[in-house]
């Protein structure tokens, strides 16, 4: 009796079986995720708590100096973007800028500045402008509303910086403001501490944690102005 070689039908190989399952999973995920797109009418706004503007100007100065250089967060492509005299300016036309400036000097600014800010402003960076009216020699003060110009960080810029800081994690900062979470859970706090990966590295040096204290006390509700000024004195 001769045995003829018989070809058995190949059973699905494990790799092919795996590929089929993977394809099914991908297809399933696509089907599930497609209804997740929101229509425009479904979009809306939600309220969240952001730490107070009171006393924020000096905190803004610290952020401008430590975070707001143009090669870091002084760049409009960043989610956490910082405006200020030595970095990127909040885009303004001359008319807008002069109108804002006038309303600020009349005391009707959106971002209120506490008396403690005035003493802190001498720390450098984004201190309030000392010039009033038009510049000398007929030059417009708007000409100095440029990076590195003499026009100080405006109240609108300070307010934009505050909202930017809150906008990093609005839900979480809301919890921190409502004392439901610790400031140390915020990316805004964790990055400069380098407890979370940060391309800019460690910002608050081990020998001086005043910047960290400045930021966290603002978030917690009462700015430690001395700590902020201490940070501003660091090179």
């Amino acid at each position: 009796m001769t045995s003829t070689p018989q070809v058995t039908p190949p059973s699905p190989s494990p790799s092919r079986w795996l590929a089929c399952r993977l394809a099914l999973v991908v297809l399933g995920a696509a089907v599930i995720s497609s209804p997740a797109c929101l229509a425009t009418e479904e979009l809306g706004t939600t309220d969240f708590s952001c730490p107070s503007p009171d006393g924020f100007r000096v905190v803004s100065q610290v952020l401008e100096r430590r975070c707001g250089t143009m090669d870091c967060h002084g760049d409009e492509s960043r989610t956490f973007r910082i405006y200020g005299r030595t970095g990127m300016r909040l885009p303004r036309t001359e008319a807008e800028y002069l109108a804002e400036r006038q309303s600020t000097s009349a005391g009707t600014s959106v971002a209120s500045v506490s008396s403690s800010d005035a003493s802190a402003s001498s720390g450098g960076g984004g201190d309030q402008t000392s010039s009033t009216g038009s510049g000398e020699g007929g030059a417009s003060i708007f000409d100095e509303y440029v990076t590195g110009g003499t026009e100080a960080t405006s109240n609108a810029e300070v307010e934009a910086n505050r909202l930017s800081a809150c906008g990093v994690e609005p839900d979480l900062i809301s919890e921190v403001v409502n004392t439901e979470a610790d400031p140390g859970t915020l990316t805004l706090v964790r990055k400069p501490r380098l407890t979370e990966a940060h391309k800019g590295g460690l910002i608050w040096k081990a020998d001086s944690l005043q910047g960290d204290k400045c930021l966290t006390t603002w978030i917690s509700g009462l700015v430690d102005v001395a700590a902020c000024n201490g940070e501003l004195k660091r090179p």
Binding site: S3, V7, M70, L90, E136, G137, D143, E144, V146, G148
Partner: protein, 234 residues
Amino acid sequence: MTTQLSTRPMRIRRLLILAASMGALALAGGSAVVACVSPTQDALIESLGEEVEGVPQGEFHRYGQPCLYCHGGYGPSPQFSFGGTVFAQPDDEVPVSGAKVTVTDSTGQKKTMTSNCAGNFYVAEADYKPIYPVRIEVVCETPAGFDGVSFTYRNLMGTRVNREGSCAACHANEPASQDGPGRIYCVDERYPSSYQIDPDCQGGPKLGDAGSATAAGSSVSSGDAASSGSGGEP
């Protein structure tokens, strides 16, 4: 036994098919695989435009442009830690030769570069690899003016640099604006400048280029009175 007889040729066939497929894939996409391109970086480099005719690639080319777009480790160009261009005044394009640009990193390590006749300065990464942030100052000694007097200006950058080695990434070749501090310069626009364009320089602007006439004439430009006097780079 029967299975062995039947499957061995199949295995060989599969291996051959696999090898052929991989070879075809390598041939088809070979150039892309080898180049490992970055479309973002390519777009940045393309935005710089062509080389100026008559100026060869080298230390005098592309004044005022962000050096590290090409010299930052992307592509075959020599790799720099820092590079930029020093101009005489914020509102003109007269390059400054001999300006000393000193970078001090966070460990105190220093490196001084000297600008050439196109205003360009740079340091190779092999010679200096700073630990950021860094502090930068520019010291310029002006040529003697009509009265035979020269001045030394020392300009300290107002902020630290945290990561960017291309000075022109922020200091674009234009006056200061809401988007940037403008040129690196030696002399505040409130003061006259005795710097002139070197006609024999291989690179840099040529006499008659836009902006050069006022610079060579060294008059005080308009709008200078409002300047802060903070010195140098805004």
